[in-house]
């Protein structure tokens, strides 16, 4: 299992090399997004640190995630992108040693307040993972699982399945085999199914952790288009290794890096710069960002 994941990851990295090599200058890609006005802030992080046991995996994260925007998180491996992303919908609660410090607010509410139910948080803030992880059930059951446990009446299911699959640009491909197992689909289809599944619970925010890293370029393109299409209804946060992808799809980009922590001798991630995507890619304020986006480091 794990084995496979890593293999896939590695292949993906190999492919990326190739893509990177011919990439167009970044600025031209990003500018088209730059004229939009500021949207309202949905999620705000202030001075956020995440620990695994005594090890501080990431620190000093200050970010505002705005409604109906796509926010990208980039940075070298191990800098804590996934860690931050997963702390947003409290997926980190699943890791016994994980602990969050600082302030993380969702519509002004402290997400780590003891009165907050993490299950409720995850219904509001959906998640799509790096490797497509459909349930070993039918396509239909995959999509309706979320509504089912949320107590949505069964008569709405057909409609939910259709709209979610349509939004995820998968309806036409699978509408005739909704009762077949989701495991029989291709990787790209599976990932779109996972997006549809996340959409089906009608969340406000969609978190995506390298959603295309296991996919081929065509499937990747489909998912990028999909994100653009649905962003008017959702707030999207995406982690990606692929800078071009960040430049292509996101409105804002957060660049993370990792530095040796003075306290202990381990590398701790930190947020270096967070700004409009075109700014990050064309005219970054921090030298480390510049080195990274121009490919001199990372």
């Amino acid at each position: 299992m794990n084995d496979e994941t890593n293999h896939d990851a590695q292949k993906q990295v190999d492919e990326m090399d190739a893509v990177q090599a011919n990439r167009p200058t970044v600025a031209t890609v990003a500018t088209e997004n730059s004229i939009e006005p500021d949207h309202p802030v949905v999620l705000s992080m202030r001075n956020l640190s995440v620990y695994y046991g005594t090890f501080r995996a990431v620190r000093d994260v200050d970010m505002d995630i705005r409604e109906n925007e796509i926010t990208a998180m980039i940075g070298p491996s191990g800098c804590g992108k996934s860690t931050v992303l997963r702390s947003i919908n409290r997926m980190n609660d699943l890791i016994p040693t994980a602990r969050v410090e600082g302030d993380l607010r969702f519509h002004g509410l402290d997400l780590y307040d003891s009165k907050v139910d993490p299950v409720e948080v995850r219904r509001r803030i959906g998640m799509v993972f790096q490797k497509p992880n459909p349930f070993p059930k039918s396509i239909y059951d995959n999509i309706t699982y979320g509504p089912r446990i949320a107590g949505t009446p069964k008569e709405n299911f057909d409609e939910i399945v259709e709209t979610s699959l349509k939004r995820a640009a998968l309806w036409d491909e699978v509408k005739d085999r909704l009762s077949e197992s989701a495991l029989g689909m291709s990787g790209g289809q599976q990932q779109r199914l996972c997006i549809a599944r996340a959409i089906a619970t009608n969340p406000d925010v969609l978190l995506m952790d390298e959603p295309c890293s296991a996919l081929d370029p065509i499937a990747t393109g489909m998912i990028e288009d999909l994100m653009q299409e649905i962003k008017s209804n959702y707030t999207i946060v995406i982690v990606t290794h692929n800078m071009q992808q960040a430049a292509r799809v996101s409105d804002r980009t957060a660049f993370f890096t990792a530095q040796i922590d003075s306290e202990n001798d381990r590398r701790t991630g930190l947020l270096v710069e967070f700004d409009r995507t075109e700014k990050i890619f064309s005219n970054p304020a921090d030298e480390r960002t510049e080195n990274y986006v121009t490919g001199r480091f990372g």
């Binding site: 016994p96 299950v119 993972f129 446990i149």
Partner: protein
């Protein structure tokens, strides 16, 4: 492509000599020895099966039907195993009802809920230790708690299938927990995350995703446990099963008999095997063994096949 220059002919003969295959007598002998050991081991199984089948042949070939349906009787030629079968059936059923839910629940706790603290590691250590406690010691537990235990004996009815079943449940519980834990642990984290990611609660994730995924593994463990419970004799000896006669044979579905005096296949075999009359000690005992082995091997093979299918499905 580069143009190949001719190969240097540099004392090819001596190189050929040095590469020549040498006889690896020791290696071949070693491998043969290892293989022979395996053959001996498996040969024992064959001889064992042959012995019991041929010893039990007069019964198996001439009066199998009567043997299966007849009760304990004074004469070897009339005696049968129906009460032993029923006793064993009830023991297995009680184990299935008591040990499996408990064991699976405990495994769920250990894998999904238990925090990493001293209590958890203590429970885990305790479970592993319990798995190694000899079965005769469980017999003592059964004798003092379930047969004579103050208050409990009036529920179990003393030396009854209920007392025996509870004792065997205690015996297999650690094994059920451990195999269920392994099966649950093998569930991919991605599946858990997928469940939590759409807003399922812990219990929903467990019941909808983890348990279905782990089901074949858990089932394998439980089948093996039933097989073990069916074949255990030592705890039942301590609990006290009947060897002489039980005249009445209540119908299979009469569950009130779980509180009655009983006999079970392994204890019946034990008491027959040491009788003076060879009709009992050889023919009947061997025939009863064949029936017990048939049942146990059936359960074991089902478990093994299930696991193999499951494993190849997962890896493929």
């Amino acid at each position: 492509m580069a143009v190949a220059t001719p190969t240097t002919v540099r004392d090819t003969a001596s190189i050929a000599e040095s590469l020549r295959r040498k006889r690896d007598v020791k290696g071949v002998a070693f491998q043969a020895m290892m293989f022979l050991s395996l053959v001996i081991t498996l040969g024992v199984l064959v001889v064992l099966l042959f012995t019991v089948i041929s010893d039990g042949w007069p019964v198996l070939s001439q009066r199998l039907g009567g043997f299966l349906t007849s009760t304990l009787r004074p004469d070897a030629v009339d005696a049968g195993v129906v009460q032993g079968l029923k006793g064993t059936f009830y023991l297995c059923a009680i184990v299935a009802i008591v040990a499996f839910p408990l064991g699976i629940a405990a495994a769920i706790y250990m894998e999904e809920y238990a925090p990493q603290n001293w209590l958890t590691s203590f429970i885990q250590l305790n479970i592993r230790n319990l798995a190694g406690v000899p079965s005769v010691v469980y017999g003592i537990l059964g004798l003092t708690i379930f047969v004579k235990g103050w208050g409990i004996s009036s529920i179990t009815g003393g030396s009854s299938p209920l007392a025996g079943g509870l004792t065997l449940s205690a015996l297999v519980l650690p094994v059920v927990i451990i195999t269920a834990q392994e099966a649950i642990r093998a569930t991919p984290q991605a599946l858990r995350e997928a469940g939590f990611g759409v807003g399922a609660t812990k219990w929903e994730v467990i019941k909808d995703h983890i348990l279905p995924y782990a089901a074949p593994g858990i089932l394998t463990g439980t089948l093996l446990s039933i097989a073990r419970a069916a074949g255990e004799a030592a705890p039942l000896l301590l609990i006290g099963t009947i060897s002489g006669i039980i005249t009445r044979s209540a119908p299979w579905y009469d569950v009130t008999q779980v509180q009655d005096r009983f006999t079970a296949m392994p204890t019946l075999i034990t008491s027959w095997a040491v009788q003076p009359d060879t009709g009992f000690s050889v023919e009947n005992a061997a025939a009863a063994i064949v029936i017990l082995i048939f049942f146990v091997i059936l359960l074991n093979s089902a478990a093994i096949m299930l696991r193999n299918r499951f494993e190849s499905k997962r890896s493929g």
